[in-house]
């Protein structure tokens, strides 16, 4: 056995297994019961959305005039609507609409917010000033109002709805990314990377963004229910998802006129919206606490 040099043994030189930040956070998240409940519901909703065609007992847009406004029964568990469409099938497909809206708008939000925030934070100076003033202006727009305006212009397809929400909602991610990068870019590991000849893009992509990932994930988790709410609200007013595409907001709108006779047609989609919002918020809270234990 070689003699220890300066009291350092062979064992000390072997890389020690550190519990990584993510593993640590994962453990904290698993212990948080409320967050886990939220996570399970979110997972279930994703599965329902993916398997909507398999899970729904009927075609969600097929009208059956022999079974109009039926009360919940074994054949139609949640009843049928004024056009004889099976409400359960529409609820299940509504989950698909909601989840798609939630996820795709956040992709757009990331596509705009990340580069903008990174550029402002890393570039600094005039770039930063210009980009952030622009962000401030967009931030000052009343959100719902702008989405309604954009939606009336883009109108129709669900992709345009993603765009309308994404174009308004990216400011939080941009501000957050900028803040993260500002606080990280003077650290030693960035200096080391620069000393090794890394370009700005590499430093941002390989070093700064991965280290800012935690707070960004949390923001996006809170962004999903926000987008789901906006879609439901727009569809409820009548300018969101176009019929006959099933959406919880549209279902509420369709059923609201007859709420006294058939409250269940409104209650179920309303509860579904509430459930998804709750689940995402609990999951987001849990993620925030798990990733940043100091914030508690």
């Amino acid at each position: 056995m070689p003699r220890p040099i300066n009291g350092i043994t062979e064992a000390d030189r072997l890389p020690r297994r550190h519990p990584s930040l993510w593993r640590d956070a994962g453990r904290r998240l698993l212990r948080n019961r409320l967050a886990m409940a939220g996570g399970i519901i979110v997972l279930a909703m994703v599965l329902i959305a993916l398997l909507a065609d398999v899970l729904s007992p009927y075609d969600p847009i097929k009208q059956n005039y022999n079974a109009i406004l039926e009360a919940p029964s074994l054949r139609h568990l949640v009843g049928t609507d004024a056009l004889g469409r099976d409400a359960l099938s529409r609820l299940v497909h509504g989950a698909r609409t909601s989840m798609t809206v939630g996820i795709f708008t956040q992709l757009i939000v990331l596509a705009i917010g990340l580069p903008l925030g990174a550029l402002a934070g890393y570039g600094g100076g005039r770039t930063d000033n210009l980009l952030m003033r622009f962000t401030d202006i967009v931030y000052a727009f009343p959100e719902l109002l702008m989405v309604i305006l954009l939606q009336t212009i883009f109108g129709g397809s669900i992709y345009m709805l993603f765009l309308a929400i994404g174009l308004v909602a990216w400011t939080n991610v941009a501000r957050l990314t900028r803040g993260q990068i500002l606080s990280l870019k003077e650290r030693e590991f960035v200096l080391a990377a620069r000393a090794m000849g890394a370009t700005g893009a590499v430093i941002i992509w390989r070093h700064l963004l991965p280290n800012s990932l935690g707070p960004i994930i949390v923001t996006v988790t809170f962004g999903v229910p926000r987008a789901i709410f906006l879609e439901a609200a727009l569809s409820y007013i009548g300018i969101g998802v176009k019929p006959p595409t099933p959406s919880w907001g549209t279902m509420v709108q369709d059923g609201y006129g007859a709420i006294f006779s058939f409250p269940h047609l409104v209650a179920f989609p309303a509860l579904a919206i509430a459930l998804v919002m709750l689940a995402f918020t609990f999951l987001g809270d849990g993620l925030r606490d798990a990733l940043d234990p100091r914030g508690r």
Binding site: I237, I239, V266, L271, M277
Partner: protein, 305 residues
């Protein structure tokens, strides 16, 4: 201080200009015009209408004249309610939305502050658990969903409250609760957290050691300091109450500005859309400014530069 306020007010100008420009550009991209009816108007009539409202001029000129008119407080003429000016329509709907918003704000502050502080003063009591439960769950249930559930319970099932409308006090109950529920929950949560933090400060222990009464410690030493972070929240809260009223007004058939805007969008009423957008943005921006200034008044440690 006054310099700070002045600078913030000046900052409003580019914000509102950009907003008006984007709104204006977007409106002219909207397919269809204000004269689209079920029965097609003869081209000559459309031409005359366009001339009357200045829609035959180049777009940039229309924008410039709009800005110039707005500065004089004239938001133009509604294309749909053809005999009324937009300023007039807005001023008619404003008291309704303002009443709704103000009542919701009072409920928000009353409920949020009392629940938050009570929970913090009695940490881990049943009161605290109720507060935490309320704050975590109701903060994420959208107002219009809560409104619908309330309609199902109180109107459909119990026949206690009317489903909507305006004019009598009982018609206000559900809309105000629906509007205030989220901001009150957020406020309760922040108040509780911030009060708890202050309660663990050294100067509170000092106050106890000096033998001050519980009452004085709580109300003079704790609350005053705990409410500072709470105040920052009120800016976004007011913004939420203002824009949140859209859906709530539609849900409860309240003839306020939110419903006006949605009707304007459907009718392609350029003048009305533009006027309401600018008005909302202005209110939100001013609310934020007022809160920021108040922040400095309450907390002398804050300097404006």
């Amino acid at each position: 201080m006054s310099q700070y306020i002045l600078r913030r007010l000046l900052w409003l100008i580019p914000v509102l200009l950009t907003l008006s420009f984007i709104t204006f550009a977007l409106m002219h991209l909207v397919p269809g015009g204000p004269w689209d009816r079920e029965k097609q108007l003869p081209p000559a009539v459309v031409e005359n209408l366009n001339r009357k409202y200045g829609l035959d001029r180049p777009v940039w000129l229309q924008y410039l004249s709009f800005v110039a008119n707005t500065l004089r407080g004239d938001l133009g003429i509604s294309y749909v309610h053809q005999d009324r000016s937009v300023t007039d329509i807005i001023l008619n709907a404003l008291p309704i939305t303002a009443t709704l918003g103000l009542l919701a704000l009072i409920l928000t502050v009353a409920l949020g502050l009392s629940l938050g502080t009570a929970a913090a003063f009695h940490q881990n009591s049943w009161l605290d658990y109720i507060c935490v439960f309320y704050a975590t769950s109701f903060a994420s249930i959208p107002g219009f969903v809560l409104g619908i559930l309330m309609v199902i319970i109180f109107s459909v099932t119990l026949h206690l409250l009317p489903t909507g409308g305006w004019g009598t006090p009982e018609k206000l109950i559900m809309p105000v609760i629906a509007l205030a529920s989220i901001p009150a929950a957020v406020l309760a949560r922040v108040t509780r957290a911030s009060t708890l933090e202050v309660l663990h400060q050294d100067y509170i222990r000092t106050a106890h050691a000096k033998g001050l009464s519980q009452h004085i410690i709580l109300y003079r030493h704790t609350l005053k300091n705990a409410l500072i972070p709470v105040l920052t929240l009120l800016g976004p809260e007011v913004a939420y109450l203002v824009s949140g009223s859209f859906i709530i007004e539609n849900l409860f058939s309240i003839p306020g500005m939110g419903r006006l805007f949605v009707q304007g969008v459907f009718a392609r009423d350029y003048g009305l859309i533009m006027g309401t957008v600018l008005f909302y943005a202005f209110v939100v921006a001013v609310a934020n400014l007022v809160i920021d200034v108040l922040y400095g008044v309450v907390d002398p440690r804050i300097r404006y530069d």
